[in-house]
Amino acid sequence: MHTYFAYQFMISSELPLPELCSIDDSIGEGHPHLSIVFGQARRENVPHTDIQSLYYQIEPEFCWFEVPNITCFLIKHGRQIIIEPFPGVDEDSLRLFLYTICLPLVLIYHDYFLLHGGAIHSGEEGVAFLSHFGQGKSTLLASLLKQSHFRFLSDDICVLNQDGLILPGFPALQLRKDAIIKLDIDQTTVKLIRPTLQKWYIPTHQAFYSAPSMLKIIYIVDPTNRADVLMTPLVGLKKIQYLKKYTYHSLLVKGLGKDRLYFHQCAILAARTSVTYVERPKQGFRWDEFAHLIEQDLQDKVLECQ
């Protein structure tokens, strides 16, 4: 067994998880919040539920997923993840789906609030950048980290506890090759996230901020047909609507019976954060210039928060 720490969870795992922060086995022994083991992960072990489809079946205490031809996962009581890989499957693929399906499920089960986006720590505040898959949020984070003094909290999933604190994830960003080249990132340090996907983990150990950070500022970044960048502060109900739209994987939230809790969390978050909707051009712009615009706006907002 290996022992790790992510999102303030102590995790013991039979599968090595080198992307996470590892801790001395003797510290975690006997008291993990979550254990990950290999075993039989069968759909028939999950009670009947309405939240099911071709490749998943979710009810609060038992969740089953199949990643076709790669692995099946069974998640029990938010405490144990059983992995049953297909023969010959590489460990990187298992890890990627563990990070993107199983860990979020466990966190939602334990009433954490997940937004689809990355997060940084700036001054005294936590800042989240929300957007859907493949729309450049990791590239924006990497651009910001490259230019300035910001500290990195998480990529892709922004996990909040009940007090509105962003929990640090693990020190890696996921980037495509074009972004790695554009940002002039040392390619000797990167690692493919899966053998069949053209996307790489970029280590961010040096910039990693390992303490929780109060979320105060949110940017929702949307590629549009505009030729320039437009930032619009959101107010009132719109804030709630947008936060709801960018909650991580609403299907999991629904399957675990957390819809009402999530709506409530969106309302609380809307009341205590500044939310800005950022429209950026889909093409023909420079990430460093875009990051600079965000940085300038962020400086003003941080001052307002103080």
Partner: protein, 295 residues
Amino acid sequence: MSVNQGIFWLSSYPKSGNTWFRMVLASVLSQSSQPVNINEINITRHASDRALFVEALGFNSYLLSEDELLRLRPIVYKWYSQKKPQVQYFKIHDANIYIDQLIRLIPQEGCLGALYFIRNPLDIAISFAHHSNITIDQSIHLMCDKDAKIFGNTGFLGMQLQQYLLSWSQHVKSWTAKSNDLRVMCIRYEDMHLSPFTTFKKAIQFLNLDISDQVILMAIEHARFEKLQHQELQQNFREKTFTQKTFFRKGIIGDWEQTLKPVQIQKIIDHHQAEMLAYGYIDEQFKPIRLHTKE
């Protein structure tokens, strides 16, 4: 499976009248006296829409490679055909390719039939160039490329999976060849223009819809090209790519006569001779045929 459950495929090479037909079908099914909004053609789903796969998988399709997704597609389509006790309409631009030289993209099981929209490749070359913001020569090159693909996991990710077009003539063959094993009706874009009532009625009957002539005529009127253009002027059409100025551009037949150079016409004919001859776009001397008379 009953005739009331399964998928009707609305298939075509891009820019061949698929969207126009979907507008007419949406209007026919709504039976409303008002035109259907171009952004509310909700009666059809796009076979490459990533949302379809999220629904089946429970996680985002970006985590799978294009090859992995391609192998999943027949399974997912079969699942959709069995999922709802009703007829569903799926739009598709892929050729009906063999996957791993073994199984067809479109499973026979759960398929109620396929309407295949075909258009003169001489006109497609122009329309596709505008649609994709490329030159006409590039468009012709793509239409001759036996490995042509559009969309997919390149650069920033779009909402559609990779689509396997092949060349224009391979696309036609993949859907219309007898080996296809599907029930297919071929509809010419030019006939939709020249004999709209006869052509749309034939297509609607193929879909097992019992619709009065009056409703079909009204639907054709609502989906007149000028009306679709007018709607697009007033609101952004969400199926428009960001490189396009407008989706509904000219909507005419025979544009090639004014626009294409002789060498471009010859290249298209040389590559797609057999299919152009079979569908009446060239004569037996391999000369392009002009089609201009309206019903």
